[in-house]
């Protein structure tokens, strides 16, 4: 097998470990008094972790020269979607008991859910358009569309921030990582603009 296939298999398996772990804890009834809440929190946290991992890929390729990583970015992003769908499904089934009327009233009543839902919708849209065929069909719009992942991450962070009750620790940590990942991109954008300006300046003789 080629190295890339091995890597793909390894990353896929590793990414499934949290899912297998929570299923194992559920089956063996080790989730405590409120298993529903534990599962919802766990899958939500892993959604954010996978968004972080996915968005760390291009800086790692650019700065650490981990060029082999870029081909695996799509799978990592799809795992963020996978855990987000688990999160929503667990919330709907285990917390609301599939009471959809209540789901819509909660969506309106609880601002953090109002913030989280569009983030999931964005991830679904990006997942659906992640195939090669879709990339071809969308052309240059594909890149523009997939920049929405930054919005999804910011919404995810707001979703966490608005639930803060007793400690800011997670909100601050996630905020710092989000700022770092988005900051790297802003920096790259700023660098490009500077270069373009310099070029333009040297191109016009005085």
């Amino acid at each position: 097998m080629r190295a890339v296939t091995w890597r793909r298999l390894a990353i896929f398996t590793l990414s499934l470990v949290p899912f297998i772990w929570i299923v194992y804890l559920t089956i063996t009834q080790q989730l405590g008094a409120d298993p529903a809440k534990t599962i919802v929190l766990f899958t939500g946290e892993w959604t954010i972790y996978f968004l972080f991992i996915t968005l760390a890929v291009s800086p790692l390729v650019k700065f650490a020269k981990w060029r082999w990583l870029i081909v695996h970015r799509r799978m990592l992003g799809l795992f963020a979607l996978f855990y987000a769908l688990c999160h929503v499904a667990a919330y709907l089934t285990f917390i609301l008991g599939l009471d959809f009327a209540r789901f819509f009233s909660e969506l309106v009543k609880r601002p953090y859910i109002t913030a989280g839902m569009p983030a999931v919708l964005i991830l679904i849209a990006l997942g659906v358009t992640s195939t090669k065929g879709m990339m071809r069909r969308l052309g240059s719009n594909w890149t523009k569309l997939h920049r929405l992942v930054y919005v999804a991450l910011l919404l995810g962070w707001v979703h966490v921030l608005w639930q803060v009750r007793s400690s800011y620790f997670e909100a601050v940590l996630y905020g710092a990582i989000t700022a770092l990942l988005l900051g790297v991109r802003l920096y790259g954008y700023w660098q490009k603009r500077q270069k373009r300006r310099l070029k333009a300046a040297s191109a016009t003789p005085k």
Partner: protein
């Protein structure tokens, strides 16, 4: 040939839940009473014993263990299913030990609940610092099964061991200026490590308060045990408040100070987020928390595929306290 087919409907679906729960409880209590009778016979006439006793071993001084073992049983009619001991003692908020629900059980080993002293101060004729043993020598312990409704919309049913707060407060002869009672939790980062966290939203020590009539209400309990054993550290050892008609955060844990005051005392959650947590914090399904509904609650333990969601009752179902708030706008004084 007659073939008996198994019934397609579970008998639990035919018998209304409260009835079969009550039946089970009756059987359990009969067993407990039977054992109690045998034990009483063996030691020759100890009268009382709590009905619900956990097998767990909670480290506590012998004088306290004996006093708790002799607490008068709760003989009232109980229509709720008790939350199992292991859930009561492993899933709760006690932010002095960490911010996750399992942190208190994991990290409260550093708390030393014995020996323990409580300072009584403020608007009373008798004040001073008293040993817990002295305080408990002047009161009668009893078992009380109470619903506990957390402001986070989950709830439990817990058999506490304690005494009426009012019976203690009276002993200090509060003056006419005593309009409120203020409580303070221990502050000691060595014993309560999470008090040192830089990310917390609460200023330690944790403080709480009640209006005098609320404090004197016979439902208001100071607890020293649960399930027939001393309070485990994570549940607020050695002395905690239990006010069953208010959200759980009013029931302050590991109390080191009780003060009679003329002015309404500050309370921790109210300071932290005044628009979310009021001084009164009465359980009220009609007044939502700004970030979530209070109309329903999940009674724990809650199953995965059949979440145990029930309607929240006004005053958590303790209607006898309604008269305390007659004429008050409970939307304003939430």
């Amino acid at each position: 040939m007659l073939i008996k087919r198994p019934p397609r409907i579970a008998s639990s679906e035919i018998t209304p839940e409260p009835i079969y729960r009550a039946r089970r409880q009756f059987m359990r209590q009969s067993v407990a009473l039977g054992t109690a009778a045998i034990a009483a016979g063996a030691v020759g006439g100890a009268q009382a014993k709590p009905s619900f006793v956990a097998k767990a071993d909670v480290a506590s001084p012998p004088w306290l263990r004996d006093k708790i073992a002799g607490a008068a049983a709760d003989t009232s009619e109980i229509n709720d299913t008790l939350t199992p001991y292991e859930h009561v003692t492993s899933y709760n908020n006690f932010y002095e030990f960490g911010y996750n629900k399992d942190d208190p059980a994991k990290h409260s080993g550093s708390l030393k609940p014995h020996p323990w002293q409580v300072e009584i101060s403020g608007e009373a004729e008798k004040t001073g610092t008293f040993d817990l043993e002295d305080i408990l020598s002047k009161v009668e312990l009893q078992e009380r099964v109470y619903r506990l409704r957390c402001v986070e919309a989950w709830s439990m049913v817990i058999p506490w061991i304690g005494f009426e707060l009012g019976s203690l407060l009276k002993q200090f002869n509060p003056t006419s200026r005593a309009k409120y009672v203020a409580f303070t939790t221990l502050k000691d980062t060595k014993q309560m490590p999470a008090q040192g966290s830089a990310f917390g939203t609460i200023d330690w020590p944790y403080v709480e308060g009640l209006r005098m009539d609320e404090a004197m209400h016979p439902l208001t309990l100071l607890a020293v045990g649960l399930y027939g054993k001393a309070l485990p550290n994570q549940n607020g050892a050695p002395l905690r408040l239990v006010v069953p008609w208010k959200y759980g955060f009013k029931s302050i844990k590991s109390i080191v100070k009780i003060e009679f005051t003329e002015e309404q005392p500050p309370t921790s959650w109210n300071i932290s987020a005044p628009n979310e947590y009021g001084f009164y914090a009465n359980v009220n399904p009609k007044v939502d928390h700004p970030r979530w509904s209070q109309a329903t609650e999940r009674r724990l333990p809650s199953g995965l595929f059949s979440p145990n969601i029930i309607d929240t009752q006004m005053f958590n179902g303790y209607d006898e306290v309604a008269s305390l708030y007659r004429g008050m706008d409970l939307k304003k004084y939430f």
